[in-house]
């Protein structure tokens, strides 16, 4: 009478087989590997590259235990970490003959040791979080105000050239906090300018103003429209993420995670990175480039410079210092920004043999550069490298002649290393807005391994203790409960592997806790069956009634636990989210395994026997008194 229909048995069997299949990769462990991925969007990872990697390895007599290629990367599996380092060097040399102009990122990584047929059905080992494998986690806050002021600055430059082209005479354009102020002598010019600007710059909201008396200059105030602001901010965030991608690619990190979080934050996770200081340095550096004109007249005047040092600046200028500390007054107007840069390479100056950075500008940048240099022959031009909000004049050469073709060289008191770093930062693109690290977590690799073993042992011994108790207390039914609990663990790990949800230490704790809580359902069922037997029911009827009566209670109690899990999932971040994901999944698998799977086992054992004398569920003690009567 306790028999499952075929489909139900089949469901249980399929679930268990799938569970086993997707849990399997976790047992194979990981092997050291070298991962090759493309740094440039134009260069694809293809079979030709695979052949090159193979040839390079063959030439160096390095035996790989498996080559694996997908759309993004090639992974070369090797025997041990020594071979891994050797293979990395060999591949690096073969693919990137000029280290400064690397087309591929070659990184150390770990890949699953599981056989290829498992990988081909997407059975992958669980994705370990940083606290288990070691690495760095950063939460970066994008300074959106910075993005807007930057945009206003460049718009200011555009307005200047626009008004000059249209022959509209103004008496100054300046940015005042979040608005651009254009001054005019008469209302007629202002009207003309307003029309032109409104035509050419649809993102600006224009209004008239005049301070104080009637003689004061007329002003046109331009602010960014709200929708334009939003667009700029979205763009800034995307641009920053792209920039971070490029920079991290240059670092050579396998499987980095760079994601938007909320409206203005970016999460960066670099698994396995050992040199965190370097990573932080590269990420935290908000280098951008500006080209400005030097205010030669004032810079040469010691009296003005002395005043400037005390903070009294001539209007329209800003004080910067050159490498070596000499102060220099630069015009506020930005000629060019790093956005116009298409490439930056370290190298040497053709004449002086000093280390230098060679820049290539895009066509618009090249045109602007040509115009400016033509108009300013004999004047000085400053190349300003801005890092962490502080600008430094890298070099301020005198313009000898018009420079066309968009090729520019920065040199001046740089070491080779500095030239390399500067080129890397510039090449990796500038950030559209400055960023601050607001959260950082660094976990050493040894701590990660320690955490795995601690989590594993907690679960193992807890499970063993529960299993021993259940079998001692409920005998065969205890055994079934333990089997159901094992099935629960199997399904949970399979699900985590399949979804590739990040497993963290709190996640492992959640696995342990879920198992500890899941046994509740089996205890409920077993107690109910005992109670039915105590009440004088036949064994088969007791099994039926026990499972059916317990079901409502099991559902109720799991729903309340699930509510707590979902609340954690919604509001939790970081470690709590890792806990919540596993907890919620665990509740779902535990309902299935403790009710459906354990029933299948019980049916298998007892279901076919018609004349069943008793159940092996431990001693059922009968008090011989019914409830109610006893309380009197």
């Amino acid at each position: 009478m306790n028999r499952y229909p075929l489909w139900k048995n089949a469901t249980v069997l399929i679930a268990l087989v799938l569970g086993l299949l997707y849990t399997l990769p976790n047992f194979f462990g990981e092997a050291p590997a070298v991962q090759v991925s493309s740094v440039k969007a134009t260069i694809k990872v293809d079979t030709a590259l695979l052949a090159r990697v193979e040839d390079a390895l063959k030439a160096a007599d390095i035996v790989s235990t498996g080559l694996h290629a997908d759309l993004q990367s090639i992974r070369v599996r090797v025997i041990d970490t020594d071979t891994q380092l050797k293979a990395k060097d060999v591949i690096e040399k073969a693919l990137n003959p000029i280290p400064a102009d690397a087309s591929y990122s070659v990184a150390l990584n770990l890949v699953s040791n599981s056989p290829n047929w498992l990988t081909s059905i997407h059975a992958l080992p669980m994705y370990l979080g940083l606290d288990l494998r070691g690495g760095v986690h950063f939460l970066l806050q994008v300074d959106m105000k910075g993005a807007l002021t930057k945009r206003l600055d460049s718009t200011g430059a555009d307005l200047r050239s626009l008004l000059r082209d249209k022959n509209v005479r103004h008496s100054g354009i300046a940015r005042e906090t979040m608005s651009l102020v254009v001054r005019f002598r008469d209302a007629e010019t202002r009207d003309k300018a307003r029309g032109t600007i409104a035509d050419q710059q649809p993102d600006l909201l224009l209004s008239d103003s005049q301070d104080g008396n009637a003689d004061a200059p007329l002003k046109l105030i331009a602010v960014l429209k709200p929708e334009a602001q939003k667009r700029i901010q979205d763009f800034a965030l995307k641009q920053n993420i792209t920039t971070l991608h490029n920079r991290i690619n240059e670092l050579g990190v396998a499987e980095p995670i760079i994601q938007q979080q909320g409206a203005d934050r970016i999460v960066v996770q670099l698994p396995g990175v050992q040199d965190t200081a370097k990573a932080k340095d590269i990420l935290g550096r908000t280098a951008s480039l500006e080209v400005r004109m030097v205010d030669d007249e004032n810079s040469a005047n010691p009296a003005v410079m002395a005043q400037a040092a005390q903070g009294i600046l001539p209007s329209g200028t800003e004080l910067y210092s050159e490498r070596g500390g000499r102060p220099l007054l630069l015009k506020k107007q930005v000629v060019l920004t790093g956005d116009r840069l298409t490439d930056a390479q370290p190298g040497f100056d053709g004449q002086t043999q000093e280390p230098a950075v060679h820049l290539t500008l895009d066509s618009a940048g090249a045109r602007i550069f040509k115009d400016v240099t033509r108009e300013s022959v004999g004047k000085r031009m400053a190349i300003v490298l801005i890092e962490k909000g502080k600008g430094e004049v890298v070099t301020a050469p005198v313009i000898r002649s018009e420079i066309g073709g968009g090729r520019v060289q920065i040199s001046g008191r740089m070491s080779t290393q500095e030239a390399n770093d500067t080129a890397l930062l510039l090449r990796a693109g500038s950030l559209a807005a400055p960023m601050d690290i607001i959260e950082e977590r660094t976990i050493g690799p040894s701590l990660g391994a320690e955490n795995i073993s601690k989590g594993f042992h907690s679960t193992l011994w807890g499970f063993t203790a529960i299993a021993a108790f259940m079998i001692a207390y409920y005998l065969l039914f205890g055994m079934v409960s333990v089997l159901a609990l094992s099935a629960n663990l199997l399904l949970l790990i399979a699900l985590l592997s399949l979804l590739q949800a990040t497993l963290t230490l709190p996640g492992i704790a959640a696995i342990a806790l879920t198992l500890g809580m899941a046994i509740d359902s089996n205890v409920l069922i077993n107690e109910r069956i005992r109670e039915e037997l105590r009440g004088g029911n036949t064994p088969q009827a007791s099994i039926l009634a026990g499972y059916e009566r317990a079901w409502a209670t099991i559902l109720d109690s799991n729903v309340t636990t699930l509510i707590a899990g979902i609340a954690l999932l919604i509001f939790g971040s970081g470690p709590v989210r890792g806990f919540a994901v596993v907890h919620c999944l665990g509740i779902l698998t535990s309902i299935f395994s403790s009710v459906v799977i354990s029933r299948a086992f019980v049916n298998l054992i007892y279901g076919r026997r018609k004349k069943l004398a008793g159940l092996s569920i431990g001693q059922v003690w009968k008090p011989g008194v019914t409830a109610g009567a006893a309380t009197k």
């Binding site: 690290i437 601690k454 807890g462 704790a509 409920l524 109690s557 309340t560 919604i570 470690p575 409830a627």
Partner: protein, 311 residues
């Protein structure tokens, strides 16, 4: 084997008042500690830098402290973590512009202390001020959502009286766990918060199981007074209660023993939660239901609705 050979229903309800007075006293004490001592919040909530450093030989903590304060780190906490060779350093947020670099500066400073015994950095956590505030408010929101969700579910599934008493009983557990953390000044971190919410959902289970029995007994057995129904329900589920909680506690104890420092407070919060969960969800929630005036009639009606709804 059968642990619980209970001949007749235990008259729990006779002592209902006593249980609730004990609860009330514990609750008031917990609130007093919370107000008086406050929680020792981890840097996840307060913001700051936390570093775990290991040495090859046990370092002199006083020297480390002296070195750090000499190098301009004020209000740092230096303590051993697990073994005497592992050191945990907490640096609070300062007005300093470059707070994100504190970790590197501390390790550089410590490296100059003793060349023969160099520190190795195992873990750094830095949390900016804005993140901490968000975490605290998110935590409060999560708690609110759990309470509301469970109450709504219980009210639909049972009756508002059950919902109210279950939530009161279990919230009082939460406060008591917090009281323990305040009294011993244990570190209250995000995993502890997760543990508290998980245990809240879990001990509501307990009330659910008892209430389920209450409902069943009301339906099945006529002529029993409410306290007798409650006594019967508790007595017939007590064996399951103890076994389930015992099993969960086996797992949690294993975490306490093998889980190391990282899971220590998490497991501790669970332990307190489980112990008080048994007590409160059985011996506090049931009397509350009784005093709120639960009666047989409420269930006869529900039974009729149920049949229409389910079958």
């Amino acid at each position: 084997m059968e642990f619980f050979r209970i001949k007749k229903d235990i008259p729990f309800m006779r002592h209902a008042l006593a249980f609730n007075i004990v609860s009330l006293i514990t609750f008031v004490l917990a609130v007093a500690f919370l107000v008086g001592k406050g929680l020792h919040l981890s840097i996840e909530f307060t913001g700051g830098t936390l570093m775990e450093i290991s040495y090859s030989q046990a370092p002199d903590l006083d020297k480390l402290r002296a070195k750090l304060s000499q190098d301009g780190f004020t209000d740092t906490q230096v303590q051993n973590f697990g073994t005497s060779r592992e050191v945990l350093i907490r640096v609070p947020l300062s007005k300093d512009a470059d707070t994100a670099k504190v970790g590197e500066r501390v390790i550089t400073s410590l490296k100059t202390l003793d060349a023969a015994n160099l520190p190795t950095l195992k873990r750094v956590e830095f949390v900016g001020p804005q993140v901490g505030k968000e975490l605290a408010s998110d935590g409060a929101m999560a708690l609110l959502l759990v309470v509301a969700g469970i109450m709504i579910y219980l009210a639909i599934r049972f009756e508002w009286r059950f919902a109210v008493s279950a939530i009161i009983a279990n919230l009082h557990d939460v406060v008591i766990i917090l009281g323990f953390f305040a009294f011993f000044q244990w570190e209250f971190s995000l995993p502890v918060l997760a543990a508290i919410l998980a245990v809240l959902g879990y001990s509501v289970n307990e009330s659910v199981v008892v209430f389920d029995r209450v409902r069943e007994t009301f339906k099945k057995k006529r002529g029993l007074a409410t306290p007798e129904v409650l006594n019967h329900a508790i007595t017939s589920t007590i064996s399951r209660t103890i076994i389930t909680h015992g099993s969960t506690q086996l797992m949690v104890t294993s975490m306490l023993i093998f889980g190391g420092e990282a899971l220590h407070y998490f497991a501790l919060a669970l332990t307190i939660g489980i112990c008080f969960g048994i007590y409160s969800s059985v011996l506090v929630a049931s009397p509350l239901v009784m005093w709120l005036g639960v009666s047989r009639e409420q269930f006869i009606k529900i039974k009729v609705e149920k049949q229409e709804a389910v079958v």
